[in-house]
């Protein structure tokens, strides 16, 4: 069984990303081949959505071909930008719904929290999405009750609480680890995990817990630092780097692509061009 998961796993480690990770682990344990397609290019995933906002629905539809199940997580920034108004929200949800209609297998829509869907869980566009879903998994009781109150009877039966978030990192369940019957090993593990999280939090400041200012980077390459302790030369501000390979035409095209990507207005076009090139190469 092939399962496509669309959403962000850790990092960063949040309840939402841990929840989706728990879902992935559950499906894998059932023997499914899980592929993760992420909207954030730094989260753990097999591949990433390249097109911004609503345009990403096209990628989802392509990726979902051949999948027996698609699990889509609604989250800030997906399927519409966080700052989008009602119209942007409607378009984002609408094209995602259209993309999911083309899926031949089951569709599960996940909503970890009511706050993950700006402007609420209601509205025509959202209702169309709930209708196309085979299952709707929510992360907490509040979201469940709000959703149940808003949607019709036909949809109610689809809604259920999602599996509990995976207790990774320091975000483990203290009740389970530190209850009266916890063993010394369990308590020690919790203490160590919490201490690790605490030490990491200290790094938020440029000065460490002992009051020392962290050293600036030093580049230990021969030309620049013939002896330990030499400083980094002042190179001024960094400029975008483009590979120098290829013909004049290729380099000009790359530069144009880069310029287009750096502007929000032309970014969708540039990303579209990049995807088209990749698809053409694969073909």
């Amino acid at each position: 069984m092939r399962v496509l998961v669309v959403g962000s796993l850790p990092p960063p480690v949040t309840d939402r990303s841990r929840g989706l990770l728990a879902e992935v682990i559950r499906r894998r344990a059932e023997g499914a081949a899980v592929e993760v397609l992420s909207p954030t290019d730094y989260s753990v995933a097999h591949s990433y959505l390249e097109m911004p906002g609503p345009a990403s629905a096209v990628e989802i539809a392509l990726a979902a071909r051949g999948a027996d199940m698609v699990i889509v997580q609604l989250q800030p920034g997906f399927p519409f930008d966080e700052g989008a108004g009602r119209a942007g929200r409607a378009v984002g949800l609408g094209v995602l719904t259209t993309a999911l209609r083309s899926v031949r297998g089951e569709v599960t829509v996940r909503l970890h929290s009511i706050h993950d869907l700006p402007h609420g869980v209601g509205g025509r566009a959202a209702e169309a999405l709930w209708a196309v879903a085979s299952h709707i998994d929510v992360g907490d009781e509040e979201t469940l009750s709000r959703l149940v109150a808003l949607v019709g009877d036909a949809v109610k039966d689809k809604i259920s609480l999602a599996v509990a978030p995976l207790p990774i990192g320091h975000l483990r369940d203290p009740g389970a680890e530190l209850s009266g019957d916890a063993t010394l090993d369990m308590v020690t593990a919790t203490v160590r995990a919490r201490a690790a999280a605490e030490r990491r939090s200290v790094l938020a400041d440029p000065v460490d817990a002992a009051g020392r200012v962290h050293a600036r980077p030093r580049v230990a390459l021969w030309e620049w630092s013939p002896h330990p302790g030499a400083g980094v030369p002042d190179w001024g501000s960094a400029t975008p780097f483009l590979p120098a390979r290829g013909s004049v035409l290729t380099r000009a095209a790359r530069a144009a692509l880069y310029a287009a990507e750096s502007r929000s207005l032309t970014r969708p076009l540039a990303r579209g061009a990049r995807i088209a090139r990749r698809v053409a190469r694969q073909v």
């Binding site: 850790p10 990092p11 480690v13 990770l21 992935v24 682990i25 894998r28 344990a29 899980v34 993760v36 954030t40 290019d41 730094y42 753990v44 995933a45 097999h46 591949s47 995976l166 990774i168 990192g169 320091h170 020690t188 593990a189 919790t190 203490v191 160590r192 995990a193 201490a195 690790a196 999280a197 030490r199 990491r200 200290v202 790094l203 460490d208 817990a209 002992a210 020392r212 962290h214 050293a215 600036r216 980077p217 030093r218 580049v219 230990a220 390459l221 021969w222 630092s225 013939p226 002896h227 330990p228 980094v232 190179w235 501000s237 960094a238 780097f241 483009l242 590979p243 790359r254 880069y258």
Partner: protein, 390 residues
């Protein structure tokens, strides 16, 4: 006995690199002492392409169970290169940009899922070295049982927040040398940490004459071993060596062994001899046959090769920009360090003109290795450090 997993980006025959070799020896050593040892690694051999060459799945390496997971190699080299350039310019990246940079090199999602599923089956997960997806992404999954063997050296990458976060967020950190330990303290609030060191095997015998004969080496030579890369100081070694033979008329050749394109200038192709990749026994013979071992790398966290050189009673000439190597040379009294090409030339000249003195220095180096860096001693230390996890 503990159940331990080493998490490392590359593992197996033909994988070159000090930390990779070290992990393999440690995994085998602990397994030979009765521990249940697994290695969680990728299917990649080449650290430039990260292409999958070994099949994914489970295999055995002696007593060690090796679980391989497929990499997803780099998809956007321009993005990666632009971040890389900003890091080397000393620019502070946003956390998400750091992760995107790391993630765009290669990633191993199936390894991540395996650790998320099975971390509690292991007493300890030992991550090494620091600068890879396999460490920086996975170490946070089970911090209470994570040990970081970072193999730090002072380079721009160590100041990345994700690296400092990994140092702070492990349950324990194992260092190889005092300079590395001090660098760790400068970077982050450290958890419990030990100076476990590292080690090399002591060959039973050497065959220097046979080595010269097999490779047609008629003149005395200086050896340079490892990856032929900018970051390992290879171009500087070529430049310094060529200046020295011109300036002093030295009757020494430079023999290079290891991986990577040596890019030898045509004018020097009679004096710089590339032997490519050699097996372990032949590498030991190369050290024994050399007049001196040249270590030009400024980026060393332990430097196995200088230990192997000293064991073979060959003097070391090393770049003092590597604090660790300079520290070993000073402690042992077995190596000469240089700060620039002229000093390198003078070191080579000393070896050519005073071989007896070079031999005495090398003898001090050999005693230093035997006193501090043999596997039984290092494995004893690792076992003691593992006790708090079992």
């Amino acid at each position: 006995m503990s159940k331990v997993a080493f998490v490392t980006p590359r593992y197996g025959d033909g994988v070159l690199g000090g930390s990779e070799s070290r992990v393999r020896e440690e995994a085998r050593g602990l397994a030979a002492r009765g521990h249940d040892v697994e290695v969680l690694t990728t299917c990649a051999r080449d650290h430039h392409t990260w292409a999958n060459v070994w099949p994914a799945g489970v295999e055995r390496d002696g007593d060690v169970t090796v679980r391989r997971f497929e990499t997803v190699p780099r998809t956007d080299p321009a993005l990666w290169a632009s971040f890389e350039r900003r890091i080397f310019a000393g620019e502070r990246l946003e956390d998400t940009d750091e992760l995107a940079w790391l993630n765009s090199r290669f990633r191993v999602p199936e390894l991540y899922f395996h650790i998320a599923e099975c971390a509690r089956d292991y007493d300890a997960l030992i991550y090494s070295p620091y600068l890879f997806w396999t460490t920086l992404y996975c170490i946070g999954l089970a911090p209470e049982r994570s040990i970081l063997m970072p193999c730090l050296h002072n380079e721009p990458y160590v100041y990345l927040r994700s690296v400092r976060s990994a140092l702070a967020g492990a349950a324990s950190v194992w260092f190889q040398s005092e300079p590395e330990h001090q660098l760790g303290h400068r970077l982050a609030p450290l958890p419990s940490h030990q100076l476990v060191g590292s080690a090399v095997y002591v060959p039973e015998s050497y065959d220097p004459a046979g080595f010269r004969e097999r490779h047609g080496l008629e003149r005395p030579f200086v050896l340079c071993a490892g990856r032929r890369e900018e970051g390992k100081g290879w171009p500087q070694a070529v430049r310094g060596f060529s200046a020295a033979i011109v300036r002093y008329g030295l009757e020494l050749d430079l023999v290079s062994i290891g991986s990577g394109e040596p890019n030898i200038p045509p004018i020097l192709d009679k004096r710089i001899i590339d032997l490519g990749y050699l097996d372990d026994a032949e590498v030991s013979n190369a050290f024994a046959a050399a007049e001196a071992y040249l270590q030009p790398s400024p980026n060393e966290s332990f430097s196995r090769t200088i230990m192997e050189s000293w064991l073979a009673s060959t003097v070391v000439i090393a770049n003092m920009a590597s604090e660790v190597v300079a520290w070993h040379c000073e402690r042992s009294g077995g190596g000469l360090v240089y700060g620039d090409e002229i000093e390198m030339g003078e070191c080579l000249r000393m070896v050519a003109e005073a071989p007896k003195l070079a031999g005495e220095l090398a003898a001090a180096g050999r005693a230093y290795v035997l006193d501090n860096y043999t596997w039984p001693k290092i494995l004893d230390g690792m076992e003691a450090a593992l006790e708090r996890f079992s």
